[in-house]
């Protein structure tokens, strides 16, 4: 499992109800279900990944997270996870508002665009950065925005939600391993993970 998902999993209490927005092949949900007795549901756009989730015994809905989240009653979940997807969302403020309507807590992670190699690429080559975490050319990327740790903190004040916990990580080995970054995270972390609430 990806290192950021391991950290996210450690934040989720056993037996809780979890909604995973953009759950992919269900790595996080499968871990939570089998290791923590979590009741989980995933939302995923890609048919093949939906099949993979169902094959792993997970509950998953094929659809767009922005639309699918609207149907859930208030506070249906203890945790709503949005991992490495925020940079692809058209209306982040609206989605996060919905996320905290249907869930008691939200967990949001994204690649940190103020990571030093990103800064240096832009500074030294003058071209849009392409990194391991954001491996796309500008013309061929699903990511419609770039976000830094500081940006997200400022966004929380503007959009009116609270950051309850924040961790910066630096992952390696195809993101399966990593460590927490305590010194100068804004430049040294590859990803930011935030536990948020109203």
């Amino acid at each position: 499992m990806r290192f950021d998902l391991k950290v996210i999993a450690s934040w989720i209490e056993p037996g809780s109800r979890v909604l995973d927005l953009g759950c992919g092949e269900g790595d996080l949900l499968y871990y939570l279900k089998t290791q923590k007795g979590v009741t989980g549901t995933g939302i995923e756009m890609v048919e093949e990944k939906v099949q993979r989730c169902i094959e792993r015994g997970l509950s998953v809905l094929q659809g767009d997270i922005n639309a699918e989240i609207l149907d859930y009653p208030d506070q249906s979940f203890d945790f709503v996870v949005l991992s490495q997807t925020l940079q692809q969302v058209y209306e982040p403020a609206r989605l996060i508002q919905e996320l905290l309507r249907v869930g008691r807590r939200g967990i949001v992670s994204f690649p940190n665009f103020s990571h030093l190699p990103v800064r240096l690429q832009l500074l030294l080559t003058g071209r849009a950065p392409v990194t391991k975490e954001l491996p796309y050319d500008w013309h061929d990327t699903p990511n419609i925005r770039v976000i830094t740790l500081k940006d997200f903190r400022q966004f929380s004040r503007q959009a009116g939600f609270r950051i309850l916990r924040e961790v910066a990580i630096r992952s390696h080995h195809r993101d399966t391993a990593g460590h927490l970054v305590r010194f100068w995270p804004t430049a040294r972390a590859t990803y930011g993970l935030f536990l948020i609430g109203k």
């Binding site: 099949q51 997970l58 509950s59 809905l61 149907d71």
Partner: protein, 391 residues
């Protein structure tokens, strides 16, 4: 649907099976129908495959669509040219694995494949019911199936699964007997029949009723309304396909000729195909059954019957885990109808999975070979069995 039935390429099959029957609701204890009318005795034709486990937790009820029957899988005779209608899904090691599950399928009420319907003899007259047969609903079909399950001693079903009209029965089961179904799998189905679907059914019925041989449903002693029924089937077939599938399958290709005939013979392959399907259908199906069953699907409206007009309310009593599947090119019960079903299930906090399968073959896709559908059913059933057995 029979045109799709094919032998399993691997030769895997449940083998030789037989249709059994169960009769209940003998007068004076007739079945009370949703309309208020009474019907009895009622005979249900059914088949079973696999073994019921000692805990009786592995029963799967398969529900057939408009023109299906109880013969889901295997062969009645060793020299049968074709197996049952969903042989590619039901059998040893298949999506609905008869090595693991006890599979039951019965012919629906008002059908003509062994279950009591308009072609059955009325106890009052000793002649076929014809139009004296009461109009039945999807709920009545489910009530008849419940009587069968009571007879078989099955208190709780691991799953109810079906496509199209079969899916409507799945939904009816889930809201009518929430404690008796652990899971529900509606495929290519809807919570309420749309105006488009009603319209096609009505044109099909008019084709039957316009045939002079229909004789207001009283034709069992003489010639049958074969022409009307064949046209009804042709209309149905168009709705089961899609623009894309017809373009690929037929295009504008001509049938056995190089040029137009300049008369009204079947010039195009698509014409010839529809004529063939129509003429084949009348050999196995009763025109009055077609009228009654299409009417039952038109009346189907889970929202009105169980939810006071609200889809979310309709599912408020449901307890089952759901797997909802739609197909991209299905224009009879398009994906938006499955999505609104899923939406209502979510609002009730029910456990639901949904997959829209990319398929070019229209509504009938659920009957065609699909590794994806097979994988979904296999995994979903295995999960529900594990959860039901171990908690």
């Amino acid at each position: 649907m029979s045109e799709y039935i094919a032998h399993d390429a691997g030769g895997v099959s449940v083998g030789q099976v037989e249709t059994k029957s169960y009769t209940f609701a003998r007068p004076p204890d007739e079945m009370r129908l949703e309309s208020g009318a009474r019907l009895g005795p009622v005979t249900i034709a059914f088949e079973t495959y696999g073994e019921l486990n000692p805990a009786r937790t592995n029963a799967v009820l398969v529900l057939h669509a408009l023109t299906g029957d109880a013969h889901v899988a295997g062969y009645h005779h060793p020299d049968d040219p074709k197996p049952g209608w969903w042989d590619l899904m039901v059998g040893p090691g298949k999506g609905i694995d008869t090595d693991r599950y006890y599979v039951i399928c019965s012919n629906i009420l008002a059908g003509c494949m062994g279950t009591t319907g308009p072609s059955s003899l009325s106890p009052a007259t000793g002649r076929p019911y014809g139009l004296a047969f009461p109009v039945v609903t999807v709920a009545d079909m489910v009530e008849a199936q419940k009587a069968l399950l009571d007879h078989l001693g099955i208190e709780r079903l691991l799953s109810v699964v079906g496509g199209s009209l079969g899916g409507m029965q799945v939904l009816e089961w889930a809201v009518r007997y929430p404690d008796r179904v652990a899971s529900a799998i509606p495929l290519a189905s809807t919570t309420r029949h749309s105006a488009l679907a009603i319209a096609f059914n009505e044109v099909a019925r008019q084709a039957i009723m316009a045939d002079p041989k229909w004789n207001r449903g009283d034709y069992y002693d003489g010639l049958r309304p074969d022409l009307g029924l064949a046209v009804a089937r042709m209309i149905g077939h168009i709705t089961y396909l899609s623009d894309e599938s017809m373009r690929q399958k037929f295009g504008r290709r001509l049938q056995d000729k190089a040029d137009f005939s300049y008369n009204f013979d079947a010039d195009f392959q698509v014409e010839s195909y529809l004529r063939y399907q129509g003429s084949k259908f009348v050999e196995r199906f009763d025109a009055n059954s077609f009228l009654y069953i299409t009417k039952a699907t038109d009346y189907f409206d889970l929202e009105a019957q169980h939810g006071g007009g609200s889809t979310a309310q309709a599912f408020s009593k449901a307890r089952a885990r759901f797997l909802v599947v739609s197909f991209t090119s299905d224009w009879l019960y398009p994906t938006y109808q499955s999505r609104s079903m899923v939406q209502a299930l979510k609002k009730n906090g029910l456990d639901v999975s949904f997959c829209e399968i990319q398929a070019e073959w229209g509504h009938d896709a659920f009957l065609l070979p699909s590794p994806r559908l097979t994988a979904l059913l296999r995994a979903f059933l295995a999960r529900v069995l594990a959860e039901e057995s171990g908690g």
